[in-house]
Amino acid sequence: MDTNTCIELALIIIKVIIISSLLFALPIPLTWIERKVAGHIQLRLGPFRVGWHGILQPVADMIKLMFKEDIIPDKADKWLFKLAPIISLVPIFLTFATVPVGDKITVFGKEVTLYISDMNVGILYILAVAGIGVYGLILGGWASNSKYALFGSIRSSAQMISYELALSFAAIGVVMVTNSLSLVDIVNSQKATTWNICYQPLGFIIYIIAGLAEINRIPFDLSEDEGTLAAGYHVEYSSMRFSFFMLAEYVAMVLMSVLAVVLFFGGWSGPILPPIVWFVIKVSAFIYFFMWVRFTFPRYRYDQLMTIGWKILLPLSLVNILITGLFLI
């Protein structure tokens, strides 16, 4: 190995460390923001007592979670019970290997790409690997040996099967327009013309709805429905294992926002401001949107969820592909 490959390798390792520590840290402000948004939407103030405007509340929560007793039910499948939170967390982190946050920048006279790798199957890879994350939910729910948890996990598996299709088909529309599966190419092609939302409005709506279902957020969080399932798949979890599930959920929300920005809103492209700022602005707008939706809509009933998935979103996404194809010809 010569020095150049060594530098490349070191760069990749540095990028991996930066991105993963960022992802570990991100849920801390996100929980605070979510609770603040919840509060203000309900005309409350949200957390206010720990630190300035309650900004240290997530830290306090984290300390509380760490010192809680780590309970493993006696009749649980111990091995899978311990494995499940990790299965739900790891794939979501893996997807960020191809998520670009910007184009190349020059540091100390060397070009550094703002993504770990630009796979030529980027979008496919992300959808595939993010799909593995649901095994954490399913196995965790099954391993808990609890009825509520099992129902939650079965619901989430059915939900995942029905909505992953619509999500992928919505992404295929974008891929057809931009002629590439690589996320960097998708952004660059949008830079040349306009944002994909102009070509794919239907695809975007399908993507957002299916994405909400994919990351298990209200109005589609049937797998952790408090009203009917106590807490769903994580009802038996406590302490750090529980926080792993929460962490995975928040990172999944970030992933969905990033993908929405990259696929439909031109990624980091934008006038005047530097690209990375545009990227952060767009992604945070989507994260706010997800929170806003959460505190506006009630949860859908389970049969409604299935109806929306199979009878509306899937045919619509097929129609979207057909129309896109016709326009391309």
């Binding site: 509060g39 203000h40 309900q42 409350r44 806003w292 809509f297």
Partner: protein
Amino acid sequence: MTDFLKKILFIDLIKGLSLTLKYNLSKSFTIRYPDEEKWLPYQRFRGLHTLNKDAQGRELCVACELCAKACPTKCITVVPMEDNNGIGIADRIAKIYEINLVRCMFCGFCEDACPTTAIRMGREYELACFSLDCAKADKQRLLAPQEIPVEFEGGYVIKARLERTKEGIRVRPDLTKKKRWW
């Protein structure tokens, strides 16, 4: 047809979202009690009782025991005594005047029964404490003037601050800074 249009254009969902956005941007109703603010009740509020004095500083209570009779929970104990030193407005004053605050349900009947307007319901409502001795309001406590003067108009959120003293936790209001709740 309009229903179908409404559905495909997400009219209802957008209505809901715009409403929550409006709420998100508007001011919140939370009163930051006890750290920064406190609710100042209206004058009609029925809080901790107070025994009034007249303009010369004489006790208005003549220990007629009508309040004790009127009390539905029998929580007022009045023991009269004769007194010629001019403490009260008549030669009969209360030797003991005690209200059991645990049993009192703050109905205000004592107020109505009182012929001399001696007993009145005040606006003190932070009555919780760490021991049972504060559950009884004796004459001395009832005679002491309350923090918020009777003339002071209520219905405001006033600035306050939390004080931790040896006697317990108190929320000290600052009557000069007040604002309407909405």
